[in-house]
Amino acid sequence: MRKRSAAASLPNPYHLLLRELTRAGVEYMVIGVSGINYFAKDARTLLSTADYDLFLRPTPENMTRAWRAFQKSGYTVVVRKGDHTVALRRLSPRGGQTLAKDQRTLIAIGPYQLVAEGLLAVSGFTFDEMKRRAVWMRDRELRFRFLVGGLADLLESKRLADREKDRLFLARYKRLLLDDQQK
């Protein structure tokens, strides 16, 4: 019998979600710090992040497919309305159109207190521009492939977003990478 490693027996909820999105035919890419982390060589160079960012192709059909996949994976989808959030219990085709038009972020809250954010717009890039340089990564245990935004694009998007946390992240990542190169 094949031996399973201890790590393999641990659940991998984010990748289960990605697999569900892939199966549902959702067009997505992993972006943000979550995406940048896939370019890490080992666990020591991972950078902590509170959520898992996905860039969804901003079309009503894709939104509907993503919403269904989130629901199927046990996530509750909420959207921001002003300074509070509203649960999206149903999504009609018209609702999908409004969300896509307004480029609202789908916030999926799932098991293990996980949060995945489905963004419809990112700083500096359209979905197609980012997809052009995106990289296929694979999960051999769950046997599927998923797209991650290109490292240079993800960093450039952070630079353009220019929030305090982005500035801090870039300064830290730059030091980490340049130190690593000097070794």
Binding site: Y14, H15, S34, Y112, V135, R138, R140, L155
Partner: protein, 110 residues
């Protein structure tokens, strides 16, 4: 030094070509200023700022410079690591494990 021209044009729903017409500066030059590929004279900077209705300091892009050769090389090297072709299931797992450890430590402290 790059300029935040693209941000300003986007916010004002203005194309670089239109800005070029307004300021009398060639569109190609504006694009080069925006990307930091060419330095701008103070006179031209003042002209753009006055046309856009902002301060000169608002136009100066002081964000992290990702265009230095050392940084670009480091990104290229990191992005082309052959390890990316291997299994990536460990990435979210390691992050979740780190998060759990951090949460446990905070509970202990509390």
């Amino acid at each position: 030094m790059a300029l935040r021209l693209l941000d300003y044009c986007r916010a004002r729903k203005l194309s670089l070509a239109e800005l070029a017409r307004w300021t009398g500066i060639a569109r190609v030059s504006l694009s080069r200023y925006a990307h930091g590929a060419q330095d701008i004279s103070l006179g031209q900077l003042l002209k753009i700022a006055s046309r856009l209705g902002c301060r000169v300091s608002d136009l100066v892009d002081d964000r992290e410079d990702l265009s230095s050769p050392a940084w670009k090389k480091a990104i290229r090297k990191q992005a082309s690591d052959p390890a990316h072709k291997r299994d990536k299931s460990w990435v979210p797992r390691a992050l979740l494990a780190a998060r759990s450890a951090w949460q446990a430590a905070s509970h202990e402290k509390a």
